[in-house]
Symmetry: C2
Subunit: 351 residues, 2 copies
């Protein structure tokens, strides 16, 4: 008693380092280097304190209508959470029984394994193909069926996107629920969101976040789109007031200014192409990124060594040890100045 047995054994998820100093080049947690829409500042500046005094709308209808409008669907297909983290936690409650399992590709977002541990069900990893390419997932492990498959697309940390047809085919033959985590989809050439809004969709839930393309990681706002019966089940098991009043209002402001987001995304995509080209010119292995980061294998020195040397110079990237990930660095795309600083430092390290 006191602490649950499953929790005693649990290894917690460790988020990327958040250095206190602002005097660093921070390319380690996939934040957007550009600020959120000025409409966000407007909402906060004149904020009506009476909205803080009262409970927020527990089912955030205004925000859901706005999201539904963007994707050409109905509010009944929209669920909103305190970040995608919470959307996933709620999904793990709604779609997984105690005797089932959670699966994802491997490598993929490392939080998924922790999510399964917290839900106290096994995690079933599905190895990817060569060069982190798509391979049909394993949907049964240790005598249990995978009831929820978490599919980051574009994938993290690999930066690679799977095609819409591949995802549709997999979902079609899968008896459980597929969550397509499209955290990075605004940085990609195409997405799978239409699978979620399709009238005959039975089991695909597409998840989006305002953390990356909308430059609002600090706000904690994620949402998902799916079949009405699945979305209804999520509302049944969420906390009563899971999205606060400020987050609802700021999200509405940001989602009303898609042009601002798209302009920032265009800048990131341009910088991404230039940075990837330069690293490849220097002999690094850099898969074609469809996200706001590169998953890069250094040419001449081990990734761990470069990670530490950059850190000592106030440049933060994320290090992924092998073997699945092949000893790589995940480098968030910052401003052109950030990337110039990085490339200069890497050049000096190569000397």
């Amino acid at each position: 008693m006191r602490i649950a047995k499953s929790v005693q054994a649990l290894t917690p998820y460790v988020p990327g380092e958040q250095p206190k100093s602002r005097n660093v080049v921070k390319l380690n947690t996939n934040e957007n280097p550009y600020p959120p829409s000025p409409k966000v500042a407007q909402v906060l500046a004149g904020y009506d304190l009476d909205r803080l005094r009262r409970y927020p709308d527990p089912v955030f209808m205004e925000l859901r209508r706005l999201i539904a409008g963007i994707w050409g669907t109905v509010p009944e297909r929209i669920f909103v959470g305190n970040g995608s983290d919470e959307v996933l936690t709620v999904a793990a409650r709604a779609f997984v029984d105690d005797d089932e399992a959670i699966g994802s590709c491997d490598p993929s977002y490392s939080l998924y394994k922790t999510l399964a541990a917290i839900r106290n069900v096994p995690f079933v990893p599905s190895p990817l193909g060569p060069g982190f390419s798509w391979r049909a997932p394993v949907v049964r492990g240790a005598a249990r069926d995978v009831a929820l498959f978490l599919l980051t697309n574009p994938n993290a940390p690999t930066s690679i996107r799977y095609g819409r047809d591949v995802v549709a085919d997999f979902a079609k033959g899968f008896p459980g629920v597929v969550i397509v985590d499209e955290a990075y989809a605004d940085f990609a050439d195409a997405d799978c969101t239409s699978l979620a809004t399709a009238p005959d969709n039975r089991n695909v839930v597409v998840m989006r976040t305002l953390s990356k393309s909308f430059s609002l990681a600090g706000l904690r706002l994620g949402y998902c789109i799916g079949p009405e019966d699945l979305i209804e089940a999520m509302y049944k098991v969420k906390d009563s007031y899971n999205v606060d009043a400020v987050a609802q209002d700021v999200a509405c402001a940001a989602l009303s200014d898609l042009d601002w987001m798209r302009a920032n995304v265009a800048k990131v995509v341009k910088t991404r192409a230039e940075t990837a080209a330069e690293l490849r010119r220097r002999g690094w292995d850099v898969p074609e990124s469809q996200s706001n980061f590169l998953f890069a294998k250094p040419a001449h020195r081990p990734a761990a060594e470069i990670f530490e040397a950059l850190r000592a110079r106030g440049i933060f990237v994320r290090y992924f040890p092998g073997p699945e990930t092949g000893d790589r660095l995940r480098i968030t795309i910052g401003t052109d100045t950030d990337m110039k600083t990085l490339l200069t430092a890497l050049e000096e390290l190569d000397k």
Copy 2:
């Protein structure tokens, strides 16, 4: 598959009605009628958008240090959640195994039963004594031990406070974890918080919220204090970034202005005494309230009838049908003007 079996059977918690119109007297969800500290407006007005662009501090150290200072304890004893709702959800993960149960007094906060259903463990209600008084809890039901006992103090909806010694005695003999939900404690003559900060505390977690006394229901900020090993277990199973940047900063501002909160509480307590006295004068049964609401039994007409008649006049209170609660209305203490409007309406209804 698709929707979990336990979720299919689940009846969701229904929060109090949030009428859209502001042209109502809203005495149904225990909100504070006075605005939050002006320091809150200052924080929002000049908000640094760079704090929204980046991920928030996942373990909210500044806020924890501030809370620890208020209660004379250390940050290692403080956990913070996206509202008390989330603190409870995290506790249900951290302190309850799949073959255990969750308990609370009956009547108490009706969310607790839903919380157990979402956690997919049985809920064991403990009947109160006469006049909603303390009675030793039932800590075993249906061949399962209660691992987590949720003790609202002052209790809701009864408004009655249990003494510190009674709570301490119960916790001492209880092998599981006791969460003392002190959502209303700022409106009471005394509290149990020192049980949580005591060096030899083994199993008492005291929970506080900014929703009521700090007038910040819209912010979603709850926290708890407890033994370090229990608090550590809660951090292990929380979502990675569960408290957003704005909520962390606004909470710091509000908690730095305790005088403002205390002045508002003093006004509510004065209005409470006057309203209770007037209702008693009219023959209503009104237990001694230690919260920001009254749990009142009408003198001449059924509570349900009065509830509907008030609603038709734009006055919202909460109706609790019997038998445990004895056909009562839970009336939030509003401003003096709100209560005058209520009392005048009730007088007309009594004619």
